[in-house]
């Protein structure tokens, strides 16, 4: 297998003391970020991104992806011990994880969470190892129309499959696309939407927007809630670890089901959040003993954690192979790639072999090391949670400001970040989703370029998006997904009518 050889190359890239120590630093920072309720995967990665500007791309991506794994692991600690999900995707973990902690089985719950996280990630990384190079090879044949069709598919699937009200998703996405277009037009060199402002000529930086939208707004929301809470202490002993691992084979069906759901939802832009709920609900539905869910059942921890991690990891697959991020955090990693001068997309597999395979190898190693680290350091990180929020909040604000400034050395960006903080707070409260905005902001200019290049190639003929089977299929699929809601209802209606001839069509 060619992939295996290349993976070995990746491990070779990784096996230097410098990279390994960066990995440890990344994991520690990541768990921190995951544990603190005011921070999460996307903001943590965005705030810490400037630290990597002076590194070479491979070290930088290894550290950043380890922050991401750490954040995924860390989210489980707060959900189980304190009943506050550090991340939206750990909400489903609290359903059974916290009751377990109340019954004094915190160690079991934590071990179950970490182990299933590990399994979920591992399945997704295996998928990436063997599938991503193939997709990339296939995508090398893509021209501008195909790329535009894929971007369209991404945008449409957000609108069609998202749980939020459609017009809100559309607003979020359109605002992202518009912000991405501010500044110099890459095709004609003309200034757009700058209104004579020097500061706007640079354009709105993606990372500045993300730090504001996620970091600052999250602080405002956390302050608003102001819960006083009591946590459970936990210490994990080896005996408990082996007990839980011994029980794993019993739950193989749950683990497999959640991994598949997670991989699937991670690749389609929908994110880890939906995956964790779906994993939980399906485990409940398939269980013989539904009543015991929500009262501290270990399966209720396995199911959402496996799915959340599988999808969080699988979200990196389309980013690597096609340059399209499957989640918010993947979008930020993609923004990082561009800062280091790498062009995300299928060419990455040809031009930067050591980078791509170093990253994939770091997913394996990062998860193994991460698992050992979280199992052994839980008491320490649980203690972090007892630090008063009044000390944490201003520190996060300062970190956000440093991150925003470092990207372009511009004071204006700190103001911009504050503005995005308010936008993020209001949008979250009135339920306008932020993920489409993030995605549109990072993909916007490339989508527009692909569109205009296709138009130039086809002399303004829109049928170029149906000019061959490949691009035609993707475009049609995109439009189908856009109208998924109404189409689904139509089929549901037709199904009811056909299966039950006596059904009243009006009901």
């Amino acid at each position: 297998m060619e992939s295996l050889g290349l993976l070995l190359l990746g491990f070779k890239v990784l096996m230097t003391w410098k990279t390994l120590s960066l990995m440890m630093v990344g994991l520690t920072l990541g768990i921190f970020v995951g544990v603190l309720p005011g921070l999460g995967g996307p903001n943590g990665v965005a705030i810490l991104l400037p630290l990597t500007f002076t590194m070479d791309p491979t070290s930088a991506i290894v550290m950043l992806s380890c922050i991401y794994w750490g954040a995924l692991f860390g989210g489980a600690i707060t959900s189980i011990l304190f009943n506050i999900p550090g991340e939206a995707w750990s909400v489903a973990t609290t359903f059974d994880g916290y009751p377990m902690a109340q019954q004094g089985k915190a160690a079991e719950a934590l071990t179950a969470a970490f182990t299933s996280s590990f399994i979920g990630s591992l399945v997704a990384v295996l998928l990436i190892t063997f599938l991503a190079p193939r997709i990339a090879t296939f995508a090398l044949k893509f021209g501008p129309p195909e790329f535009f069709a894929v971007y369209l598919l991404t945008f449409c699937s957000f609108v069609g499959l998202g749980k939020e009200e459609k017009h809100k998703t559309i607003i979020s996405m359109a605002v992202g696309l518009l912000l991405a277009a501010i500044g110099m037009d890459t095709v004609s060199g003309q200034l757009r939407m700058t209104f004579g402002s020097q500061e706007l000529m640079r354009g709105v930086n993606f990372l500045v927007a993300v730090i504001g939208l996620f970091g600052i707004s999250e602080i405002l929301l956390t302050m608003e809630e102001s819960l006083s809470l009591k946590g459970h202490a936990a210490k994990i002993s080896l005996k408990v670890v082996f007990q839980v691992w011994g029980s794993l084979p019993k739950y193989w069906a749950t683990l497999v089901r959640s991994s598949v759901i997670g991989c699937w939802l991670g690749i389609t832009p929908g994110g880890a959040i939906a995956a964790s709920f779906m994993g939980y609900n399906l485990a409940k539905r398939f269980s013989k003993d539904r009543e015991s869910f929500g009262k501290g059942r270990i399966e209720g921890v396995f199911a959402p954690e496996t799915a959340a991690h599988a999808s969080g990891t699988a979200a990196l697959l389309p980013m690597l192979a096609l340059g399209i991020p499957g989640s918010g955090t993947a979008a930020i990693l993609l923004g990082g790639l561009m800062v280091w001068g790498l062009n995300p997309g299928p060419l990455l597999f040809v031009e930067h072999k050591d980078f791509v395979w170093g990253l994939i190898a770091s997913m394996y190693l990062g998860n193994v090391v991460g698992l050992v680290m979280v199992l052994s350091t839980v008491p320490f990180f649980a203690a972090v949670l007892r630090v008063p929020f009044a000390a944490i909040a201003p520190m996060i604000v300062v970190s956000c400001a440093i991150g925003a400034f470092a990207i372009q050395n511009a004071m204006f960006d700190i103001w911009l970040m504050l503005g995005f903080g308010i936008v993020g707070y209001v949008f979250k409260k009135i339920r306008i989703p932020l993920a489409p905005l993030t995605l549109a902001l990072v993909l916007g200019s490339r989508a527009e370029d692909a569109f205009r290049l296709s138009m130039i190639g086809a002399a303004g003929d829109l049928t170029v998006f149906w000019s061959n089977t490949l691009v035609g299929t993707i475009t049609t699929l995109a439009i189908l997904l856009l109208f998924w809601g109404p189409i689904g209802r139509m089929f549901g209606y037709a199904g009811r009518v056909f299966s039950d001839p006596t059904a009243n069509p009006k009901t």
Binding site: L36, P37, P50, L51, T54, T78, E165, H167, K168, I170, I171, A174, V175, L177, L178, A181, D185, V187, S188, Q190, R192, M193, F195, I219, L220, M223, E224, E225, S226, L227, S228, L229, L385, P388, F389, A390, A391, I392, A393, P394, M395, V397, V398, A401, I402, F405, A406, N409, M411, I414, W415, L418, G421, F427, K429, I430, E448, R452, I456, G460
Partner: protein
């Protein structure tokens, strides 16, 4: 995490309603897209021999955005799903302001005194007055944090940050 900021008030009165904020936001989005449509229209939204003009793509995106905002406005004004749902309670708003106002002040102070001094002031001030933590603890924490930041960014990673008179005195 202990949130020792303010004890939560069970009742509280709403400071704003969800519907009001939603209508304001949608109106702002609508105005924003209208301005951008106008600006892109000036750049040319039709086709030239080589393809669409620079304003074409953003113009239509802004049009879609305006359409979605208009739909939302009509829905909220005439058919609100829950007209009395609160957006934020008074005491919640107070706590949000407790963190937002210092953050707002932090930016001009950064411009004047540099980011390290500004963050020392923000952290120590916030811990003392909002968190009611003992002054010596607060000042020590803020000092250690700012010093670590300085060591990491200025000395170890060589990332340029806004600096003020204090750093110049120290020779940076």
């Amino acid at each position: 995490m202990q949130r020792d900021v303010e004890p939560p008030d069970e009742e509280g009165t709403p400071a704003a309603r969800q519907r009001t904020i939603e209508i304001i936001t949608l109106a702002v989005v609508l105005a924003f897209s209208a301005v951008l449509m106008w600006d892109n229209w000036r750049n040319g939204i039709d086709w030239e021999s080589s393809g669409p003009k620079p304003g074409y793509f953003p113009f239509y995106v802004a049009l879609i955005c305006a359409g979605a905002a208009l739909y939302g406005l009509v829905k909220e004004v005439f058919f609100p799903p829950d007209p009395h749902e609160p957006f934020v309670m008074r005491d919640q708003l107070k706590r949000v302001m407790q963190v937002f106002v210092p953050t707002l002040a932090f930016v001009p102070v950064t411009q004047l005194l540099g980011i390290y001094v500004a963050s020392f002031l923000l952290i120590s001030g916030f811990m003392i007055w909002v968190g009611h933590i003992k002054p010596w603890k607060s000042i020590l924490t803020a000092y250690i944090f700012s010093a670590i930041m300085f060591a990491v960014f200025e000395i170890a990673f060589d990332v340029i940050m806004p600096k003020g008179p204090l750093e110049h005195l120290m020779g940076y």
